[in-house]
């Protein structure tokens, strides 16, 4: 194997076994799962089997606690809108963190402008949201706490079990965005005792456009998408049977190799970090303490603009991400990096290397060999590198 693709946290290729499991539901088994005749009932059985398999994969007590969605973003949106419309239609206090995925952050901020009070808890410099910081933000009228299980840019893992306990003590619901954790690290909804959790299929070699929301039984919920009342009235629209089958299959396959892959990927992650930081000056791992995802290496390459690095790497066939302002059309440096206190000037030079099933040690070494001269060349081209990072008062994080 071997691959120059280092952006598995953005998306992953579908496992051929997943594609194979899905294909019949597009062709001969095309029935609408809500139809009463045989073809429909067969599709419904496949959908419910997928739900059972998925539920088992996240430790849910009942398959009916799984609502299939169009992706992680829809699950995140529903976690806010659908519960709040039931439990706090007239407003109340919400807590989330400042470094959530945009699907949570934008949703929470919108609610913050439309009748709800919003507190954004800041993650600390080490990349973690501290339970005591959430505790300090809790109020008597806090209705919902949403903190991500692991961060998609820097890979830090949060103590959701403790945070959920605090939220419940205060009478609030607990949601966690678990998109990056699923299939990578242990994730069990009962152990964590969350009320809701969001997942996405394409991060675990499943199809794009498919996600799931775990909704603990008894959690009051008003469907975001209304219509025919599918998904036991929690998500209308003819179900994506093939997608659900694909997601469940992908999760099952990911969990089969999870433990061995976690060890292998963590070694590769550390190989990237050690290799780059030993061969280039003024480079550091963004976070290096506490629980971290095995597959994400986040680097701060000072004095270089991230998009330039990304494009030069792409020129050599490598795919990575950056939190630079210039990346993919946004004008702000990554809100995740800024939230943990990385100065703008340094955030522009961030690189995220997210590893997956096809990456090998040889790929990592090849990547490092490619990155070093690119950074040196871009720094040499910069009018300010030496002044900002090599003088008497270098800018630091």
């Amino acid at each position: 194997m071997g691959s120059k693709y280092f952006d598995y946290a953005a998306t992953s290729p579908m496992d051929p076994r997943v594609t194979e499991a899905m294909l019949p539901y597009y062709t001969q088994e095309f029935g609408n799962p809500n139809s009463l005749y045989t073809l429909g009932r067969d599709a419904a059985r496949a959908l419910e089997a997928a739900r059972e398999k998925f539920a088992a994969g996240i430790g849910a007590v009942q398959p009916s606690e799984i609502v299939f969605t169009s992706g992680g973003s829809e699950a995140d949106n529903a976690a806010f809108f659908s519960t709040l419309r039931k439990v706090a239609p007239d407003g109340g206090h919400l807590i989330t963190s400042a470094y959530e995925h945009d699907a949570v952050l934008e949703t929470a901020e919108w609610l913050g402008k439309h009748g709800y009070d919003l507190t954004l808890v800041k993650p600390r410099k080490d990349g973690h949201v501290y339970p005591e910081d959430v505790k300090a933000a809790l109020r008597e009228d806090t209705k919902l706490v949403s903190i991500m299980h692991s961060n998609n840019e820097i890979g830090s893992i949060n103590d959701i079990k403790s945070i959920a306990a605090l939220a419940h003590e205060a009478g609030a619901l607990m949601h966690t965005d678990a998109v990056q954790s699923l299939g990578k690290i242990p994730f069990d909804v009962v152990d964590l005792d969350v009320d809701m959790a969001s997942f996405s299929a394409h991060k675990v070699h499943g199809p794009k456009g498919v996600g799931a929301l775990y909704l603990k039984r008894g959690t009051r919920f008003d469907a975001l998408i209304k219509g025919g009342g599918q998904e036991t009235k929690r998500r209308s629209g003819t179900q994506n049977v093939a997608g659900a089958v694909g997601f469940a299959t992908a999760l099952e396959l990911a969990l089969e190799v999870r433990e061995s892959e976690a060890v292998r990927l963590a070694a590769l992650r550390d190989r990237v970090i050690d290799g780059v930081t030993s061969r280039l000056e003024n480079v550091q791992a963004t976070v290096d303490t506490g629980e971290r995802l095995p597959n994400i290496a986040s680097l701060l390459v000072k004095g270089v603009e991230g998009e330039s690095m990304l494009l030069q790497l792409d020129n050599l066939g490598f795919s990575v991400s950056t939190g630079s302002a210039c990346s993919s059309g946004s004008l702000e440096a990554s809100h995740v990096l800024l939230a943990i206190g990385v100065p703008q000037v340094i955030a522009h030079g961030s690189l995220r290397i997210s590893l997956g099933i096809d990456n090998t040690e040889a790929d990592i070494d090849e990547f490092i060999d490619a990155l070093v001269p690119i950074v040196e060349k871009l720094r040499a081209m910069s009018p300010v590198y030496k002044k900002m990072f090599c003088g008497e008062n270098p800018i630091t994080f």
């Binding site: 603009e305 330039s308 210039c326 059309g329 946004s330 004008l331 081209m381 900002m388």
Partner: protein, 153 residues
């Protein structure tokens, strides 16, 4: 957001990288918070013709490609013509730039204007462009932007 082949060509192999020693004019624009800084140095002959131009740029693909293009364009031009080169001219020469890059990344034309004014002032002459906003290290290129379509209020 997709760059044209020409932008990528200039980005991969930028022309005129470096700094002219004892330049006749020098300009530095941009600020590190935005992530784009550009320095341009020029040589000018006795008839106000730019004979050489070099740049150093910290920035994205568009910032580097436009720096390369501007330094190409001005060589052999009279300073009076060079100051008229607009951001749009540079974008057109590069077969277009993504809209989001027009505001903050096309620093090269500003850098050139500052360098030409620097040359004029050194020679006791009136500057042609006067104040250039992006030459102020605290300049925020996003300040004047309209919110994008579909953005929440």
């Amino acid at each position: 957001m997709i760059y044209s082949d020409k932008v990528m060509e200039h980005f991969r192999n930028p022309h005129n990288v470096g700094k002219i020693e004892n330049p006749d004019g020098e300009g530095e624009v941009g600020n590190p918070v935005c992530g784009d800084i550009m320095n341009i140095t020029i040589s000018v002959d006795g008839e106000d013709t730019i004979t050489d131009a070099k740049f150093q740029t910290l920035g994205c693909g568009a910032a580097i490609a436009t720096s390369s293009m501007v330094t190409d364009l001005v060589k052999g031009q009279k300073i009076q013509d060079a100051v008229k080169i607009s951001k749009q001219d540079v974008a057109d020469e590069l077969d277009g730039l993504p809209a989001v890059k027009m505001h903050c990344s096309v620093l090269a034309t500003d850098g050139l204007k500052v360098a030409i004014d620097d040359y004029l002032k050194k020679n006791g002459r009136e500057p042609l462009s006067g104040e250039i906003k992006s030459a102020d290290p605290n300049f925020d290129p996003h300040a004047e932007e309209e919110p994008a379509e579909g953005e929440d209020d």
